[in-house]
């Protein structure tokens, strides 16, 4: 396999493999790539959610009224359960309170609200200049401190992924720059503007997990990116990193699909890429790692694509976490007159929001504003005609029509056995369905339901164990009490025997005394 990969990367693009299904979509990326990346002005208030990753909510470690410096820890994830959150700029903590998160649930969550003081003053920074002499676990610890999560969209904690990688033997690090979803261009602009930073991050990651080599995968239509990366790789002192152009087929940027294209191997169902000796990171994550290790800058800001025909000047911005989405849109010229829908993420996997007051989080890669004529009017759903198009395009090689029927009828175990957990929610099946069945929505619902059931089952098992332990303890205590009672009774009985003996002795003595004291009969 290794030789296979080596050969294909040497001959860039000639020995690529295929993944099943997928779609060729119109890119719509040019519109947001015309203007260079810019940093919007500091907002008047930053609302930083304490849960920005896949996992538990972290606890705030600042008080209202407290002054924080840029990069100060404000949410302590303790590295095991959660992911650290840092102050995006210097200022005062106005409140630690519940705010609406830009989440499809529309639920509120705990946030730290910071009023910036405009100084943007950093805390003391200690870059790890000697990172090459540090052990992998120390680098992973530093990555964990910096609160880095996968910036490709899944926001899985990077240090946890690295732990998996360190436990397995990783031979190849893959940097994923195949940004396949239409409209999104934040990774493309990052690779064009910061190729050296990405390569530096790749070197740190490769050193931390002990991989032998690194491959950067980009799409074949990213000409400017290719030039920028090739120039950076050719620079003296740069590490030998292979650049591979993969064909632009959606969802090529999915971790499993990209691995299949590069190596021809499939990541096992329910497994991780580390099971086959690979570690896959997004290019933006690599840049964040470089920031964290070489400059001691925790993850405070990210590239966000603000695009769509509903925005006057589509472009990429470098936004601080916690910036209201409305500020980004205003910076990009505001809404066009016929703007109709605000979507977070791309048109395939994103979700729409009803308000632009929500903050940018670590997961926000794209803010897409669509116009009236771009929104497909909701077509009435029709019964499935079993055309099989969905199965033909499914990149995970599932049978969407069967899964749909199982979820609809509540056959959860059957749906799980049919591979529902392997669905990557890419929406290809949805896109091609002639009956307009919202298949991806069904699968998201089904996956959530499976997770909830699993959680319930674990909770029930736990409660059963505690109940049985308590019953056993009560039974043991009762037995012990009964044993103590029996002992006491025995002691009492023994006591009674001794008392009888004492009484008998006293009786004997009394009789003897009375015999002695009897008057002698007179002579």
């Amino acid at each position: 396999m290794k030789q296979d990969l080596r050969r294909l990367t040497r001959a860039a693009g000639t020995r690529l493999h295929h993944f099943h299904g997928g779609l060729r979509l119109r890119h719509h990326k040019q519109q947001s790539c015309r203007l260079p990346v810019a940093r919007p002005p500091l907002p008047s208030r930053l609302t930083v959610p304490l849960q920005q990753h896949a996992g538990e909510t972290v606890a705030a470690c600042v008080q209202p009224g407290q002054r924080v410096l840029k990069g100060d820890l404000i949410g302590d994830g303790e590295c095991q359960r959660g992911v650290n959150v840092h102050a995006p700029t210097s200022g005062h903590v106005e409140a630690v309170s519940q705010h609406l998160l830009g989440h499809p649930s529309g639920l509120a969550g705990p946030c730290v609200v910071i009023r910036p003081d405009g100084a943007d003053q950093w805390r003391a920074r200690q870059p790890l200049d000697d990172w090459q002499s540090l052990a992998g676990s120390e680098l992973v610890q530093a990555i964990c401190q910096a609160g880095i999560v996968g910036l490709g969209g899944a926001v899985f904690p990077t240090h946890r992924k690295m732990h998996h990688g360190q436990a397995a033997r990783i031979h190849t690090l893959i940097l994923n720059g195949a940004e396949c979803e239409p409209f999104i261009s934040c990774d493309e602009m990052l690779m064009r503007e910061q190729p050296r930073k990405i390569l530096a991050g790749a070197r740190v990651l490769q050193h931390a997990i002990g991989a032998e080599r690194t491959v950067i995968a980009i799409e074949d239509q990213m000409g400017a990116v290719r030039e920028a990366l090739e120039a950076a790789i050719a620079e003296p002192g740069a590490a030998a990193i292979d650049l591979v152009c993969v064909p632009a087929i959606y969802p090529e940027g999915g971790e499993r699909q990209l691995i299949q294209v590069l190596t021809g191997q499939e990541v096992p169902s329910g497994g991780y890429p580390s099971d086959i000796g690979l570690l896959c990171q997004n290019v933006a994550t690599a840049a964040a790692v470089a920031d964290a290790i070489l400059e001691d800058r925790p993850l405070l800001e990210r590239y966000v694509t603000v695009t769509g025909s509903g925005v006057r000047e589509p472009r990429n911005v470098l936004a601080l976490v916690g910036t209201p989405i409305a500020d980004l849109i205003e910076f990009c010229g505001g809404y066009a007159p016929d703007a109709a829908r605000l979507v977070i993420g791309g048109p395939m996997m994103g979700y729409s929001l009803d308000s632009d007051a929500h903050p940018v989080v670590k997961a926000t890669n794209c803010v897409l504003v669509l116009c009236h004529d771009e929104i497909a009017s909701p077509q009435p759903e029709m019964p499935c005609i079993r055309c099989g198009e969905c199965a033909r395009v499914c990149p995970a090689q599932l049978l969407p029509q069967q899964l749909h029927w199982q979820i609809r009828n509540g056959l959860w175990e059957d749906a799980g056995a049919s591979g529902l957990r392997d669905c990557i929610e890419c929406g290809c099946c949805d896109f091609v369905c002639p009956s307009h069945i919202p298949l991806a929505q069904w699968f998201r619902h089904g996956k959530g339901e499976l997770r909830a059931r699993r959680r319930q089952q674990l909770a029930a098992d736990h409660a059963r164990e505690r109940y049985l332990t308590r019953e056993a303890r009560l039974a043991r205590q009762q037995a012990e009490r009964a044993e103590r009672m029996a002992q006491k009774k025995r002691a009492l009985r023994d006591d009674a025997a001794r008392q009888r003996k004492v009484a008998a002795a006293i009786g004997r003595a009394a009789r003897k005394r009375s015999a002695d004291s009897e008057p002698e009969p007179g002579p």
Binding site: P380, N409, W442, G448
Partner: protein, 184 residues
């Protein structure tokens, strides 16, 4: 004549010995049906079914003493699962045993608690910590929401708070669709 008789007798002896050995070697510990019923019960240990816990109720179902529709926390889905397992017809929950309610967690008002330990003794899963004349509190993650700590409390300082889904345990709802679906 003698040879077939001897052959059959020795065969019978051989098989008898084999079966006898197997019955000792592969003896089932406990009743597997009870375990499988118990696995389907929600383990709230609330006693609404009329038995002092989920396992006693499972034993009663297995012996035919109790019906399968006496568990309100399990809801209709629980009744269906039991009916599937036991090959019986599903039936609606028996209202005598209460109605299905949303999962909830007990919360002790610590300012009012007098530290009498009665709730600690009532909790079937040891989810309350405290000591005599000291404040008590509920370990929310361990609480099954069984309500059993409410009646013994002499100062009524325990309240059942319904569990609200947060952003971490939220999941996408069922899509709203016009047609009823069915087998494609």
């Amino acid at each position: 004549m003698l040879i077939p008789i001897l052959t059959l007798m020795s065969l019978g002896l051989l098989f008898g010995l084999g079966l006898g050995w197997a019955s000792v070697r592969f003896r089932q510990q406990g009743d597997p049906v009870i375990d499988r019923i118990d696995a389907l019960l929600p383990q709230t240990q609330c006693g609404q079914c009329g038995y002092p816990g989920c396992r006693p109720y499972a034993e009663a179902i297995a012996s035919g003493e109790a019906d399968i529709n006496q568990c309100p926390p399990g809801g209709e889905a629980g009744v269906r699962a039991l009916a599937d397992l036991l090959g019986r017809e599903p039936k609606p929950l028996n209202p005598e045993h209460g109605e299905a309610s949303l999962p909830s967690v007990a919360v002790i008002d610590e300012a009012i608690c007098i530290g009498c330990t009665l709730c600690i003794q009532a909790c079937p899963v040891d989810a309350i910590v405290g000591a005599p004349k000291q404040m008590h509190t509920v370990i929310a993650a361990e609480c099954t929401g069984c309500d059993l700590c409410l009646p013994p409390c002499p100062v009524d300082c325990i309240e059942m708070v319904p569990h609200r889904p947060g952003a971490t345990d939220w999941h996408w709802p069922r899509p709203m669709t016009a047609h009823a679906g069915g087998r494609p």
